[in-house]
């Protein structure tokens, strides 16, 4: 027994010593572009977090392998595991911010909300790509926060607009309809509620809410029994992680018409629909990125990263899946912002301040998309001093039992209605978070 304990103690000491040696504190180095990635490959949300992390990492690795980085400067990527936990996410931020990071991608609305006040103080931009605080799209009040290509309010307006199209095209056709909203009962799921409630008043439909607490993600039979009783004409979902496949299964179980069940873009992973088998056929979600491998940039990832065993994807077939491509798009936006900043400043090694300007001046045209091997992958995107979101076009995809199929044209969210609400919400946020720093950053 003594020898066993001694051996175990020895192993523990060796493990601690090895860990200490194996993870030297990474320090900022001259001549590099440092991008920390706040990811989650573990925990209840790993099913959604892993493909996004793979896509983000692989695109940046591909740029390093194929082009030697951006503008001849290598990108250093460092992942920090958050487990989708806000506290851990903030710890990741605090532990890496001294290394001159260019930008942060929180990949959690909860973490984003914590980082927003820090962004302008630490002067490090935050990119919350189609998540986070919708009001942060107002660049005048949130100069360090970016949420392209769409905010959650844009997403909610797009879902309502699509439902109106299904009902004949006019928003007045929504009068008297019942729309159910099932959502993860967290900052993420609650974010679009003010807009949906306002729309319910404006367009005369009834909005019924079905919150799913995080500890009930895999136990949603109550919510769906309520849906069966209430019989909404349409269901909108804001789900994430394990909530999505369970919701799709439960919807199929109560025989809810799947073509009237529409998820936000974060509910559209292959692993969200696949487990329900044939029952998931017809399930729809919004999307703003291409799905599949038929894009030159994705092919380059396969050639330069996956085939060289530099990727963490479990299987090459997973490259091109929806959430993987979402991660690719996220890194593409960052890479384009770096290019823009390099062109604006004439420097190849930029800092976070340059990166902020690069994000604000993003102008990804159709020509640029083609040049980057991303033609048809996303809608052209242009940000500005005032508009940090772009409120871009989206489309609707539908699960056919095997893959996602694009079933609508690209269409714009209800920008004219949403924008004034965003501006008002931004002013209210700032008013309730005084003292809020006044924008001093120039509009280039």
């Amino acid at each position: 027994m003594t020898s066993t304990r001694t051996a175990l103690a020895g192993m523990a000491i060796a493990a601690v010593a090895f860990t200490g040696l194996a993870t030297p504190a990474a320090q900022a180095q001259d001549g590099e572009l440092f991008i920390p990635l706040l990811t989650y490959r573990t925990g209840p949300f790993a099913g959604s977090g892993i493909p996004i992390a793979d896509g983000m990492r692989d695109y940046l690795t591909m740029l390093n392998e194929r082009d030697g980085g951006i503008g001849g400067v290598k990108i250093r990527v460092e992942e920090c595991e958050t487990g989708y936990n806000t506290q851990k996410g903030v710890e990741c931020y605090e532990s890496t911010k001294s290394q001159n990071p260019l930008i942060y991608n929180p990949y959690s609305t909860g973490i984003t909300l914590q980082l927003i006040p820090k962004a302008s103080v630490d002067q490090i931009p935050v990119l919350s790509m189609a998540y986070g605080l919708s009001a942060a799209a107002d660049g005048k009040l949130f100069p360090w926060v970016f949420n392209p290509p769409d905010t959650y309010w844009d997403g909610a307006s797009a879902a309502i607009k699509y439902i109106a199209q299904q009902e004949g095209g006019d928003l007045s056709n929504l009068k008297g309809k019942k729309i159910g909203y099932i959502f993860l009962d967290a900052g993420y799921g609650r974010e679009p509620i003010p807009l949906l409630e306002q729309f319910a008043k404006d367009y005369g439909f009834t909005l019924t809410q079905y919150p799913v607490p995080a500890d009930q993600m895999q136990n949603q039979s109550s919510q769906w029994l309520n849906v069966r009783r209430d019989r909404p004409d349409y269901m909108i979902m804001w789900g994430w992680g394990a909530m999505n496949p369970t919701a799709v299964k439960e919807a199929a179980k109560i025989r809810y018409p799947m073509d009237k069940f529409i998820g936000v873009w974060w509910s559209g992973g292959e692993d969200d629909a696949r487990p329900a088998g044939d029952g998931a056929k017809g399930f729809k979600t919004l999307n703003f990125n291409g799905v599949g491998q038929d894009f030159p940039a994705i092919q380059d990832i396969i050639t330069h990263v996956v085939d060289k065993d530099l990727s963490q994807v479990s299987d090459t077939s997973r490259v091109g899946e929806n959430l993987y491509n979402r991660g690719v798009m996220n890194s593409f936006l960052m890479a384009e912002a770096i290019r823009t900043a390099q062109e604006m400043t004439g420097k190849t090694v930029i800092d976070a301040t340059d990166m902020r300007a690069g994000m604000e001046n993003l102008d990804i045209t159709a020509e640029r998309l083609k040049e980057a091997g991303m033609e048809g992958f996303m809608a052209p995107l242009k940000l500005s001093c005032e508009d940090h979101s772009g409120e871009n076009d989206v489309y609707v995809q539908q699960w056919d039992g095997e893959t996602w199929q694009k079933v609508s044209d690209w269409f714009a969210p209800m920008k004219d209605v949403v924008r004034p609400m965003l501006v008002k919400a931004a002013e209210e946020y700032v008013a309730s978070n005084q003292p809020w720093p006044e924008r001093k950053e120039p509009c280039n």
């Binding site: 099913g47 607490p213 009930q216 993600m217 895999q218 069966r228 479990s314």
Partner: protein
């Protein structure tokens, strides 16, 4: 007045007006209750033998289910994977006894509880290392478990019965009966009860504490495997399942930590109670009350029976 009507009258009016839906709610509550009871059973078995609340029961559910799906993904036939998983749970039981329980014998219960927390994180890490964090689909059909559903015409409406839910109920009942028989009628079962009553007295009459612990952890492992299969078939197999396992806490508060029948009855009371609460009273406060309602139900029962429904009433003279 209107509030009183909404709270005290309207839910019952709804039940009468849509009796088929009311039956569906009861059925869903019953199925949830059976599954909660299965998880609670794992807690109770280990608590009975060692006085430890096994914090690792939730991750054991995930680990067992992941092992099954992982082995099948490697090309092992599902039924053989099931047998191998039973073997894995035995190895885990031996490992826990040798490396966690035995070195901590005679330590305060809180130390053993802390050790099970450590075991939880070890199994999370090991599971993620071996199987990755991606959700997996349970191999329901390969395990010859039924899929699909049947509609029953009842009271002018219909009742949807998922075949996997029926199977879960049947398997849970068989399992509980088998465990009940094992622990009440066999020599090992009597030894377990002796250990549960008094470790030192049991040792003095020649009962091997180590052997009992292995048996109990193995039994809890099998319960975890069955629970993982059933929950995995209802949603998917991911680390989120371990959160569901904590639904067993109000069940064991209600049923008593040492009672197998308590786990069953407690599971059913919580399962049906929380469904009725969420469906008929939840909308009054915006829904989403299920996660805390279970604890309210358990605490309400405790006001009447502090030892739980089937827990032992302990009177100590001082």
């Amino acid at each position: 007045m209107e509030t009183l009507y909404l709270v005290l009258i309207d839910p019952f009016v709804q039940m009468v007006q849509a009796p088929d839906f009311f039956l569906q709610v009861l059925w869903e509550g019953f199925v949830s209750g059976v599954l909660y009871a299965l998880i609670a059973l794992g807690f109770v078995l280990i608590f009975k033998a060692s006085g430890v609340l096994n914090f690792a029961q939730g991750i054991m559910v995930v680990f067992a289910a992941l092992s099954l799906v992982g082995l099948t993904a490697l090309g092992v036939p599902a039924l053989l994977s099931l047998v191998l998983c039973i073997g894995i749970m035995f190895v885990l039981a031996v490992g826990v006894e040798r490396m966690v329980l035995r070195p901590l014998v005679n330590q305060p219960d809180i130390i053993l509880f802390m050790a099970t927390i450590g075991l939880t994180y070890f199994l999370i890490g090991l599971g993620e290392l071996i199987f990755g964090g991606e959700p997996k689909t349970m191999v329901t059909e390969q395990l010859l478990l039924p899929t699909g559903s049947s509609d029953l015409d009842v009271m002018g409406g219909f009742l949807i019965l998922q075949h996997i839910d029926i199977a879960a109920a049947v398997i849970a009942i068989v399992m509980v009966a088998a465990l009940g028989f094992f622990f009440s009628k066999t020599r090992i079962g009597r030894a377990l009860r002796a250990v549960a009553d008094d470790h030192q007295a049991a040792l003095s009459v020649g009962i091997s504490l180590n052997q009992i612990w292995v048996i109990v952890w193995f039994a809890a492992g099998i319960v975890a495997l069955v629970t993982g299969i059933m929950w995995g078939a209802r949603s998917d197999v991911s680390f989120a399942l371990q959160i569901v396992a904590f639904k067993a806490l109000p069940v064991i508060i209600l049923g008593g930590l040492t009672s197998i029948p308590g786990a069953i009855v407690g599971g059913l009371v919580i399962g049906i109670g929380e469904k009725l609460g969420e469906i008929y009273w939840g909308p009054l406060v915006g829904g989403g009350i299920e996660s805390w309602l279970a604890y309210i139900i358990a605490l309400a029962f405790l006001l009447v029976r502090p030892q739980g429904l089937f827990g032992e009433r302990i009177i100590e003279r001082i």
